[in-house]
């Protein structure tokens, strides 16, 4: 099996989940209403839970006798392979929901395909995560629709979020030689299939939300190769603080 390629593949997914979970967790205690505060924290914990399962599989593939905490907390910035999208600041509530929506609309079809992967552990993680992810997408979609098709101000803020985040959505479908290798061996889905499904969801929901898809093709990428935006260092300093200050601590 293609261990190195699969390791990178799984690591990216774990990093996406961890960093987005960390970002969402920043809303804890600051949500616009109590109910949404709890909803976002639930989703953050779902994502961190997915990250743990994925890191556990990644350390098996890596075979270097590391554990999931070492992957999550003790790597340097350029070793994280998450999307630039998930490390972007929360901004206002519209920005957070649009970021979540673009990600959920990608994750759902990805997990649906991975559920059928011949890589058993990956299929099992996908199967377990699917129910959570379906709910995440429903939640973020409902909010995108209500914000877009809501008041003048909510529409303006939602459209501003779409316009700002659109440049980071291209990277969802980043591929390198490892991906091609895994796809050719039938271990992971073709990203073009995931992209087709993502596009349908995005078009449907944004249309209902009366939001326009940006026509410019300005694209940012780099996260998948470990080149991050200026925000990543701040996320890591907070995320890694406990493990760096108290090495090998557990709870």
């Amino acid at each position: 099996m293609n261990e190195a390629a699969l390791y990178e593949y799984v690591l990216r997914m774990s990093d996406d989940s961890l960093i987005l979970g960390q970002r969402l967790g920043e809303w804890c205690g600051h949500g616009p209403i109590l109910e949404e505060d709890i909803a976002m924290t639930n989703i953050a914990l779902d994502l961190v839970g997915q990250a743990i399962s994925l890191y556990d599989f990644a350390v098996l593939l890596e075979g270097k006798d590391r554990d999931h905490d070492q992957l999550a907390y003790l790597r340097y910035e350029n070793e994280y392979k998450n999307l630039l999208l998930v490390e972007q600041p929360n901004g206002d509530f519209a920005m957070t929901m649009l970021r979540q929506f673009f990600f959920d609309a990608f994750r759902l079809p990805l997990f649906e395909f991975l559920e059928k992967s011949p890589v058993e552990q990956l299929a099992a993680i996908a199967q377990k995560s699917l129910k959570e992810t379906r709910y995440h997408l429903k939640h973020s979609s409902e909010w995108v629709i209500r914000l877009g098709d809501g008041t003048e101000e909510s529409h303006r803020r939602a459209q501003a979020a779409v316009d700002h985040l659109w440049r980071y959505t291209h990277e969802l479908f980043y591929e390198n030689q490892h991906d091609v290798e895994l796809q050719e061996n039938g271990l992971v889905p073709k990203l073009s299939d995931v992209q087709a499904s993502w596009m349908i969801t995005v078009q449907e929901v944004l249309k209902e939300a009366t939001l326009a898809i940006p026509t410019n093709n300005w694209k940012f990428e780099g996260g998948r190769e470990g080149r991050h935006s200026e925000h990543m260092g701040y996320i890591l300093s907070e995320l890694q603080y406990m493990q760096r200050a108290y090495p090998n601590m557990e709870w």
Partner: protein
């Protein structure tokens, strides 16, 4: 009600073992769909239920507390309404 607040909803949850939905609390939401989602997030985080009802609080009509005397107290003195004055025949088991 002021326009700055979303409507209040009462939440009823049916537990795994329960046959009926029970009132568990209330929450605020802009519409029924989000009220159900909020109820799911706030009240079923620890597998409390398999079904949720939400009802807008303004739709609930309640008895007046000040009139509870005339509403409820008359039944206190009518113990004969409890089925405890019947002789159970010897042949009846499991009562």
């Amino acid at each position: 009600m002021s326009n700055s607040q979303w409507p209040l909803w009462e939440v009823f949850i049916r537990s795994k073992q329960g046959l009926n939905h029970k009132h568990v609390g209330s929450l605020r939401a802009p519409d029924a769909t989000l009220a159900l989602e909020n109820a799911r997030d706030v009240y079923t985080r620890r597998s409390e239920g398999i079904s949720i009802w939400v009802v807008e609080s303004v739709q609930i009509h309640a008895t007046d507390f000040d009139q509870s005397g005339s509403f409820f107290e008359p039944s206190d003195t009518k113990i004969y309404r409890h089925p405890t004055f019947y002789e159970v025949p010897d042949g009846v088991k499991h009562m």
